[in-house]
């Protein structure tokens, strides 16, 4: 079997196989969202969301603009509460610990749960190296050798090491859009998170750069649990093991991606993914 055939076999079979294996495992979840609600002032953005995410899987969140996808993932690392007049209610349990417990430090949460945003946002005045090392230094890591190792590993993990290893001191902003996004992923990986949240990470990238990010996401699943918000239905179908469809702040349907895209249970899901909305 050629490499291409082997790759095709793995890629085409993995989603369903993973979903099946996960079904057979004992029902333990990396992330459990229970009756989560969120508001901006008086406007309710999330309505009674309950969702369980299994470890080392990729979950795509899809839905029309304004349905609450971004709000949902911002609640998963307590970023939502940083918006003035916002509030939330319910539980987000990571490895059995409610991140909204009053004894939990939100800073620790943000270390364990990394986030990559829609638009690549490297620190503009910093070099490639410093972009990745910044979080470590802020968290008091001083051992230069250790930082070097983590920077290298993170850039390797984000699939950009070979492209930048000879120019680590150059500004991060000098990279292409796709490289900047992978630099941001490396920055998130440097903190060795267990969960990675990605908010439309390829929407500002060209198809080639998007493909690289998708391949990277697929590889990162071995180490991380990934939740990705995307407007690109085909991307959700390609990369994710599970898909959640949201509408007007509510979770309409959640299940294995194969099922959602081939035979959804809900009429609303069918209409949305088929482009029959409105």
């Amino acid at each position: 079997m050629s490499n291409e055939e082997e790759l095709a076999r793995v890629v085409f079979s993995q989603g369903s196989e993973n979903a099946l294996k996960e079904e057979q495992k004992e029902q333990t979840y990396k992330v459990s969202i229970k009756k989560l609600e969120a508001w901006f002032g008086t406007k309710q953005a999330l309505k009674d969301i309950s969702l369980d995410v299994k470890e080392n899987t990729i979950t795509a969140i899809i839905g029309p603009s304004g349905c609450g996808k971004t709000t949902l993932i911002r609640c998963l690392n307590r970023m939502h509460e940083m918006t003035p007049s916002s509030r939330s209610r319910g539980q987000v349990i990571i490895d059995g610990i409610d991140i909204y417990d009053r004894n939990i430090d939100p800073v620790i949460i943000k270390r364990r749960i990394g986030m990559v945003f829609q638009k690549p946002n490297p620190f503009p005045t910093m070099s490639i190296y410093d972009n990745v090392a910044a979080g470590l230094k802020l968290n008091g890591v001083k051992d230069r050798q250790l930082i070097d190792e983590i920077v290298k590993e993170s850039l390797q993990g984000a699939g950009i090491w070979e492209e930048v290893k000879n120019e680590l001191d150059k500004p991060g902003m000098g990279l292409s859009g796709g490289q900047q996004q992978r630099l941001c992923i490396a920055r998130a990986l440097a903190m060795q998170p267990e969960v990675l949240l990605m908010d439309e990470p390829t929407s500002a990238l060209d198809p080639m750069a998007s493909t690289k990010i998708e391949e990277l996401v697929h590889d990162l699943k071995q180490e991380l649990t990934i939740i990705i918000v995307t407007h690109n239905m085909q991307q959700a179908a390609r990369v994710s093991d599970y898909t959640a469809f949201m509408y007007l702040g509510a979770l309409v349907e959640y299940g294995p991606t194969k099922k959602i895209f081939e035979n959804p249970e809900k009429e609303l899901t069918e209409r949305y993914i088929s482009g029959k909305f409105g």
Binding site: A237, E262, E270, I273, S274, G278
Partner: protein
């Protein structure tokens, strides 16, 4: 607003319905030619070829729609099933041609007893009409009835085969004309295959409507 995908789906649906009519006509004409001894080989060959071309056209269009619009859910199931249904109708055409070819190869058979073939042909005709109607109405429940009829067709085929292999008495043996039983056996076999494909078409309709394989398959 019409989705661009819908324009393609309408085209593929029209091709499938054209194939349904043409394949129905091909099988019915070939059965009539067996019954009445008419020579329709050229006509059936043309129809069979046209069905094959339409099957290719369906596959090409289906691939194009998948590549350009990445259909999902019911749209995806419909497009996938159209390829299978088109194959089924194309097989109807091919078996119709096989039937008239048997008649040409074997020669004069007007003195043969045609009861067995015409009996099965009547059931198969009904099955073709039922499968096409199920396609038009997207009737997911048609497969139960069709499989029931398929069981009857299979039983008729096996019964005739047994009768040919083991004649009951010397008179039976004497009456057996090879032209008659060979032509009947071959045509019964083709009708039996048409019956199978009518069931597969209803399976595809069941899959389009429910997303699940037919319980019988």
């Amino acid at each position: 607003m019409t989705r661009l995908l819908d324009l393609g789906i309408d085209r593929i649906r029209n091709i499938i319905m054209d194939m349904a009519r043409l394949s129905e006509q091909s099988v019915f004409t070939s059965i009539d030619s067996y019954d009445k001894g008419t020579n329709v080989k050229k006509q059936i060959f043309e129809w069979s070829e046209k069905l094959r071309v339409l099957q290719d056209e369906t596959a090409d269009l289906a691939i194009e729609l998948i590549a350009r619009y990445q259909p999902v859910a019911t749209d995806l199931r419909f497009i996938r099933s159209c390829m299978e249904i088109a194959y089924g109708f194309s097989r109807f055409g091919r078996y119709a041609y096989d039937i008239v070819e048997v008649l040409e190869t074997i020669g004069y058979i007007n003195d043969c007893d045609k009861t067995a073939v015409l009996g099965m042909a009547s059931t198969v005709r009904e099955m073709i009409l039922l499968s096409v109607e199920a396609l038009q109405l997207r009737d997911k429940n048609a497969s139960a009835k069709l499989y029931e009829m398929d069981d009857t067709v299979d039983a008729l085929y096996r019964k005739y085969l047994r009768e040919v292999i083991t004649p009951q008495n010397d008179q039976d043996k004497k009456d057996m004309n090879p032209r008659c039983y060979i032509s009947a056996l071959l045509i019964l076999r083709y009708l039996e295959r048409i019956s199978d494909h009518a069931c597969y078409i209803s399976d595809s309709i069941h899959y389009i409507m429910t997303g699940r394989s037919s319980p019988r398959r």
